[in-house]
Symmetry: C2
Subunit: 288 residues, 2 copies
């Protein structure tokens, strides 16, 4: 094994993808695996030769290490586009319409360099993931060759698999939803993936973020060892389909005890949100 120290400038891991209470689950898991975490402190200097590096953080920590892996974020490589005189969006990506057509006739952009729209807010963003590269590439290719295809927006669906421990999200985080002006209601539920009489039954944690006015699903996050991809992709379809928590709660999903529980975690969370909303509106009533 290799002793690992993870330095993150933000106070939470994955601040753009997970809300703090979900990021905490990932942090706890990393710590249990023996990863040392330095949060809220950035790297300011790296010295030394290969095999003997010294890392100095902004907060003054000094770490001696064999090697350093850098992950410093993603920026669109828009130089070619600039030189071509193409319009660049506020995200730094090439500005395109829903057909992935850039500002010059006959030019299309796709993948990490193209600015896309977040489906729920319409906000122009970069979404440098393989799935988006695939979707935008397909649309750009069809249109460039004379066909007709459109991409309305992206959900920023993502999943990470750390040796069987998985986490990911689809749609807006709670912070983003509030920032976008939604009246947000959210809940986190932890339930067993399948009935407890299965020795390999594991807990799964799901967070749902909804609009408290119309009950529409805005975002979902999931963490655990079970079938996290299933929860995230189901949530992605529900978000893209404009599902409310009431609609989710009557969605008939497949069930067999050796794979899952009869009351799906997303439905458990929807039920909790409906009760939460009722309690809140009753409370408001009694104050009036």
């Amino acid at each position: 094994g290799v002793r690992v120290t993870l330095i993150e400038r933000f106070h939470n891991l994955l601040p753009e993808g997970l809300d703090p209470e979900m990021a905490k689950k990932v942090k706890e898991r990393l710590e249990r695996e023996g990863v040392a975490l330095v949060l809220g402190d950035g790297v300011s200097e790296i010295h030394g030769e290969a095999g003997a590096k010294r890392v100095i953080t902004g907060g003054g920590r000094v770490l001696e290490t064999g090697f350093v892996v850098l992950a410093t974020g993603v920026r669109a490589s828009n130089e070619l586009a600039r030189r071509m005189g193409l319009e660049i969006g506020i995200s730094g990506g090439v500005k395109v319409n829903s057909r992935m057509a850039a500002s010059a006739h006959g030019v299309y952009a796709a993948g990490d360099v193209a600015e896309v729209r977040e489906l729920l807010t319409g906000k122009p963003i970069l979404n440098p993931f393989a799935n988006t590269a695939y979707l935008t590439g397909r649309v750009a290719g069809i249109n460039a060759s004379g066909g007709e295809a459109e991409l309305e927006g992206v959900l920023r669906s993502w999943v990470v698999n750390l040796g069987g421990f998985k986490f990911g999200a689809a749609g807006l985080t709670e912070a983003e939803a509030r920032e976008a002006g939604f009246h947000v209601l959210s809940t986190v539920v932890t339930v067993q993936e399948k009935p407890v009489f299965y020795p390999d039954s594991k807990p799964v944690t799901v967070k749902l973020i909804v609009d408290s006015v119309d009950g529409r699903l805005l975002g979902a996050q999931a963490v655990g060892e079970g079938d996290i991809l299933e929860k995230l992709n189901l949530a992605a379809a529900a978000i893209a389909g404009g599902f409310t928590i009431e609609k989710l709660l009557t969605l008939e999903l497949a069930y067999t005890p050796s794979l899952n529980e009869v009351f799906h975690p997303l439905l458990v969370a929807s039920d909790a949100l409906i009760r939460l909303r009722e309690r809140k509106s009753r409370k408001k009533g009694s104050l009036a």
Copy 2:
């Protein structure tokens, strides 16, 4: 191990849930596991003592066996409802409205005894599965205690797990969709669950059934060793959400190579269906 012979009166396994080409995948797997299959032939007689039974089929086959397991279908136990004078539906289940209220005031029915509506056709059916019992029980309970809840219909989502080999469906089979009057287009795709450079990458087979007029998803079936539940529950949400294959094809799903492929099997199938529809319309055009 126990030597097993499976006798099925119909010519395909699970004729109400899987179309023949998908049922064939299940048949092949059972045969590979050493299960002897007798299809298209029913049991007409069972003789003998515990531990020494003789089974005689309608076709005249004679099988000597240690024990017999019977699975003879499900019928609603509606006797109490009849004695109460409640209206019984054509399925044999207690007739209820979307609030699960039976024909007499203050009486609700839920679970295997209650007739539900198939979501896409509105057809009254029995859907004797745990997930439906849960959904109908919840709605009946809320309404019986003075609340308000409704269940529009069911998708008949189901999944079976045979020691890691899974199969299931959501929505209409192709046969049912045709019978219901839809202009049906369907395809079956077999793709690798995750990139082939993973030694545990397994094939998964997905069938999509869509309306060829508006492209709306009507049903899905999936078979394989991978994450079949994920495909089925995603399909269930897409069916309930009224998704077309065009909408499915731009749905951004989570991806990480250790779990799945970047182009989701449901999107691969949607793409295939869009091409199939184009070829068909071109062919029609050239004949005109």
